[in-house]
């Protein structure tokens, strides 16, 4: 009973401090909304309007028609014409174009010859996404309108579907973005929590009172679970409103998954807080975890495509499991029961991190 009073005292104190900390309060709302707008609008794997130049040395009816078809895909923005492939290379090198279209003088004859490619795309292959687009374009068929056979006619529609239409990109991004935002804010808030009290001298007073380490830790974490759930509501709300991101599965189950994930991040943040000596160190550690969370979790790059070593690293991160859960629940209408493993990992992670934090926290100053 006394333990409960002490725990609630810590919770109430945290809430009161939070209410007065306008910047943190603004971050609670600002980060999710800012990030979802940023990611929702900026991240787009549906590549369009690549700057391109054409060197049409054939200059026949067919070659001109070919260039105009390329333009119509809207993938290439052909706004320059040059006379030689060397000039294309120069433009490519200078960075003024991403793709150069070289049409050789014998283009018409090459079109009729199945063994030889009709034209060449010179591509800035440093960016795999652009290279991928170019590879798609290479599959575009060319034929004389008057030709006896329009050979691969059905394939002519295959360029666009390969890249998700605008809507699908956001749909894939938002469930993962929930994980990124919660990782950032939850870990940041708690990572500085203990360090701040130590820096301000509050801790020296606190550890001389009957409050136990567990009461202090749990009390500090509890208010943020509520805040994390509010953020979840914000992100899914904005996602639905602006990007039409569906929640096809159970909303309640989504919140259960988020609860476990938030707890995992808060526990990890607390652990960092017991390691760091200053608030600045705590923030650095947070970003040290945030970066792999973005890169190795399957948020941006497909998890299966990563090297095995990176996959192991990714499996350690709570966000990897949470993104599987959110994508499953929100997009595939999966139930928690079907993905209980992922949930279990989050629970185990929370218990381990919290225990480590409580263990590491010293009630002495030495």
């Amino acid at each position: 009973m006394n333990a409960l009073i002490r725990l609630l005292a810590v919770v109430r104190k945290e809430l009161r401090q939070l209410r007065r900390d306008r910047i943190t309060f603004a971050m609670i709302v600002g980060i999710p909304i800012g990030q979802i707008l940023l990611f929702g609008y900026a991240i787009n794997t549906d590549v369009r309007n690549l700057t391109a130049a054409v060197a049409d040395q054939a200059n026949t009816h067919l070659s001109r028609q070919f260039v105009s078809e390329l333009r119509q895909t809207q993938v290439l923005d052909v706004d320059q014409s040059v006379s030689s492939p060397e000039q294309l290379e120069a433009l490519l090198r200078s960075g003024r174009i991403s793709v150069g279209v070289y049409i050789p003088p014998d283009f018409d004859r090459r079109v009729l010859d199945d063994r030889r490619p009709a034209a060449q795309l010179l591509v800035d292959g440093a960016d795999p996404t652009i290279l991928g687009v170019a590879n798609q374009l290479a599959g575009m068929p060319v034929a004389f309108d008057t030709g006896p056979v329009s050979r691969a006619a059905p394939r002519s529609l295959q360029v666009r579907p390969y890249y998700n239409p605008e809507r699908r990109t956001a749909v894939n991004i938002v469930p993962g973005l929930i994980g990124i935002i919660l990782t950032l804010t939850m870990m940041l808030f708690t990572a500085v929590a203990i360090v701040r009290e130590r820096e301000r001298g509050n801790l020296e007073l606190l550890i001389n009172t009957p409050v136990t380490t567990t009461e202090l830790m749990v009390g500090k974490v509890l208010p943020y679970i509520g805040i994390g759930l509010i953020q979840l509501a914000l992100i899914t709300g904005v996602g639905k409103l602006l990007f039409d991101v569906p929640i096809r599965g159970s909303i309640a189950e989504l919140y259960v998954a988020a609860f476990a994930f938030i707890a995992a991040n808060l526990a990890l943040g607390l652990f960092l807080s017991t390691v760091a000596k200053t608030q600045f160190q705590a923030m650095q550690m947070t970003f040290f975890i945030l970066l792999p969370s973005i890169l190795l979790s399957g948020f941006i790059f497909p998890f299966a495509g990563m090297p095995v070593f990176a996959q192991y690293l990714g499996e350690i991160l709570p966000i990897t499991h949470f993104i599987r859960l959110t994508r499953g629940i929100m997009l595939r209408e999966a139930s928690l029961a079907e993905m209980s493993n992922e949930l279990l990992v989050l629970v185990v992670f929370t218990v381990v991190a919290m225990t480590a934090a409580v263990r590491r926290f010293s009630r002495r100053l030495d």
Binding site: N2, I5, R6, L8, A9, R12, K13, R16, Q17, R20, D21, R200, G201, N202, L203, E204, L205, L206, I207, N208, T209, P210, V211, R363, R364, L365, D366
Partner: protein
Amino acid sequence: MSADNDLAIQARGLTRRFGDLVAVRSLDLDVPRAGIYGFLGPNGSGKSTTIRMLCGLLTPTEGSATVLGLDVTGNTSLLKPKIGYMTQKFSLYEDLTVRENLEFIADIYSYRRPHRNERIAELLVDYNLEPQAKQLAGTMSGGQRQRLALACAVLHRPELLLLDEPTSAVDPRSRRDFWAKLFALSDAGTTILVSTHYMDEAERCHRLAILDRGVKVADGPPAELQKNTGMTIIEVVSESPSRAQALLNDLPEIASVTQLGVRLRVLLPSHIDAPLDLVSGAFRSDGLRAECRIVAASLEDVFVAVTRDGETRESAT
């Protein structure tokens, strides 16, 4: 056993090292119950380190200490509810109001309503904090913060109060009020251990330990310490204090010379015979007119006398 019970704090050979630095060196301490016990010493003399060891914040490198009959090197959870600790730096929450801070501390000590609110109301009146009840602690003056810190430290009515330089950031008026509070608490039976580097505060303590570079160099009631300095104090009033001081510095018998305005305070070991003649003789031979008389030792003289040993001890090693 009954003798032990009269002591709030008993320490034997208490030592604390930080790397090569010895912050506190084999300290023996007997603090009787229900009195104000002072730690006097300059910065870095080991006052804070000792207090932190006594409340279980720092583990002693060597030695032992019992506080209220409990060993501070072991589990201190039984000790915490019995002691109140006021840190040197203000350690309450600056972004909480006075009342919120008190509520938090009361909750931490498991005070329940309505008992809790009665206690807080009582403290707000006692510590003259009622006008500031809704003010954020961070926006208060040094004196107000200090009153809040003391109110929080005594909220749970501890048997022992450990105060680490509580008045270092407050004006003389607030210091007077603060000491009035300490005497009231002491009268009510609370044992108080207070560290300070102010002589006037040290003089108010029932008992005093003078710390110098981690070593206890004197221990006893202030009046007794003043009586037993082992020094003869001569006050010199001369037309040229600086010339007088230069002359005195040439005498090997003299332990220390301190200038206070136009006066000089001269300390000589008490085994020297006819000290007055020695001092006035030095002036006479140089033709300097000066008035010399033997005076009673002040606490400052005690401090100078005992810390001088520390200097010679240090230069010997």
